[in-house]
């Protein structure tokens, strides 16, 4: 299966890139540097997970492949828009080992206009806000062109409505919570709250992929469409739980960003919440010295990670990710047999069993 899977995934990725490069599908837009900077994200190691998920969910129900791939490209752009704004908000200089959009634009601005440090940073963040806005527009525009590929306009409009009325606001809500949680005492952060952040910030867009792929095939939201959405949502939650694990224990070169950044940023994750609840007073003091401390050194990060590991918090979150993966696969069981089934199974597994 793995060979077929890789070939199929690469095909989806290539088709998505072709859509990004199609002038007729691009927004009317002049400053090329902005789009280049924004498109660096899906190009640099973008695995086209979301487009593949949407396209194969559509294939599960014998839906139209071209429309599904274009909708998948729209989701990838939408995801990229949220990453660009998120990196501004998190002041993250790197994304997938490359400069984030605001860092890249700041460098361009400094060179072009000889700006001082403060103006350079503000130029970078201003352009990144606009780049994200443009990607947001572009994503929705792509959905609006689906009737040109034979999709029912009413179905295309429902794709737009759910993306903008449910998914986009959920992502904003998740990010807003993500901003505020570091100011909340760790002891007050509950497991339910952490899972809610994951559901909104990450899993909502995955769920959308399952739902949209199904709706393009069926035209109405029936049980099969709902099963695909539930499959994709559970896989998305598993993906994010694993992401939090990798942020602490991955190999730094493989990960493409400093390991332990979540700790330095004081990000609240389920691992932190569980680890804190199980820690002694002395251990909590050790964790507290690292959480949100941008200056925390490698040794302190390693010690805090060691604590979280010993408490069983990391293993428990990994086990929870596996349970969500199982639940995801369970939702596939109710669907009619299809050659896409094996692809979806492997995709879900890879969203969890991975090293970066």
């Amino acid at each position: 299966m793995t060979d077929t899977f890789n070939k199929e995934l690469q095909q989806i990725a290539a088709r998505v890139r072709a859509i990004f490069a199609d002038d007729a599908l691009r927004p009317d837009f002049a400053p090329e540097t902005l789009l280049e900077a924004a498109l660096a994200y899906p190009s640099a190691g973008g695995k086209a997970l979301r487009p593949a998920l949407l396209a194969w969910c559509c294939r599960m129900l014998d839906g139209p492949e071209d429309a599904a791939v274009r909708a998948g490209a729209a989701v990838e752009l939408y995801h990229t828009y949220t990453l660009v704004h998120d990196d501004v908000i998190d002041r993250d200089p790197l994304r997938r080992g490359q400069p984030s959009v605001h860092a890249r634009m700041a460098k361009i601005g400094r060179a072009q206009f000889q700006l001082d440090n403060e103006e350079t940073a503000h130029y970078g963040l201003s352009m990144a806000i606009l780049a994200g806005d443009c990607l947001h527009c572009w994503a929705v525009k792509l959905l609006a062109t689906l009737p040109a590929l034979g999709a029912d306009p009413a179905v295309a409009l429902r794709l737009v409505e759910r993306l903008q009325g449910v998914v986009g606001p959920a992502i904003v809500e998740g990010e807003a919570r993500d901003i505020e949680l570091p100011f909340t005492p760790v002891a007050e952060v509950t497991e339910a709250e952490m899972l809610q952040v994951i559901r909104t910030k990450t899993a909502a867009l995955f769920a959308y992929c399952g739902w949209a792929g199904g709706l393009l095939a069926r035209g109405v939201e029936d049980d099969a469409v709902r099963a695909l959405a539930a499959f994709a949502e559970h896989a998305g939650i598993a993906f994010q739980l694993q992401d939090d694990v990798l942020g602490l224990i991955a190999d730094e070169a493989t990960l493409g960003k400093p390991v332990g950044n979540d700790l330095r940023e004081g990000k609240r994750t389920l691992i932190i919440a569980l680890g804190w609840a199980r820690a002694s007073a002395a251990q909590r003091a050790e964790l507290a010295a690292v959480l949100g401390n941008q200056q925390a050194g490698l040794a302190e990060i390693a010690a805090a990670t060691g604590l979280l590991r010993q408490s069983g918090a990391i293993a428990d979150v990994q086990a929870l990710a596996s349970r969500y993966l199982d639940q995801a696969l369970g939702h596939l069981a109710a669907l009619p047999a299809s050659p896409a089934l094996a692809l979806l199974r492997e995709l879900a597994a890879r969203m969890v069993i991975r090293e970066k």
Copy 2:
């Protein structure tokens, strides 16, 4: 006419407010503070110009009023999203005499989480980015619900496609140029370039109002729809030219923001470009000392404004605004008679002949 006009305009504004308050039309979204902050813009002195323009253009062609008002509400939200992001980019603490979204959110964050100055500012801008993103989603969601009011889904989808594929990217392009122009020597800024910024940043959304109102009535883009779009675009250009004039010569209390801010921010406007071209070397030195100088005092601003007035630049831009208004009205002449004609004429006139 004026009484009828005011009554009709207030009716549109009230209907738009009712749409904003309708939970069924709102995005699923938890942090209420974000939405409240963002909705302060259309509430504080929002004149509902754009919704009225769209609704009356639709009425000109006997189109469906309910759908047009909802589309107008969508445009107002879209406009608000761009203002929220623009205020972050321009670091503007005020909008219509009230704190801008990032300033308001910063204050809330400081009180709630006891942040220091730098973190307070970053919290405010982060939340303003998200508030803008949420308004962007909400606007498009409203368009996607138009079939519930009887609109053809294919027409609703075309409204989405043009907003996201043409208008939104045009606004982004205009803002990007607006960011970069202050770094460009005034002498190199051309009239054509300044008009292009106005066309993209401001007039594109006005043109969309004419086009969308027409399309909702006709279902296809015919000559009447194009005439309404051209009418609205020309009125939009006239509106912005007048805005630049008022930014220099209005009464400060009426305007709701410091007069002369465009000069302090080093904004490039057509007035500056024309005034500079006509100034002597000594006068240019005087202008240069004020342009982009945030510390410029009232006396310096007054002297620079005096120079621009004496050069005839302000009067010429005002005359140009009048010419665009005439052209706008000219486009109405080709349309069939309608009771909405008088409303559109007065609306266009008020977009130019105003004190704030």
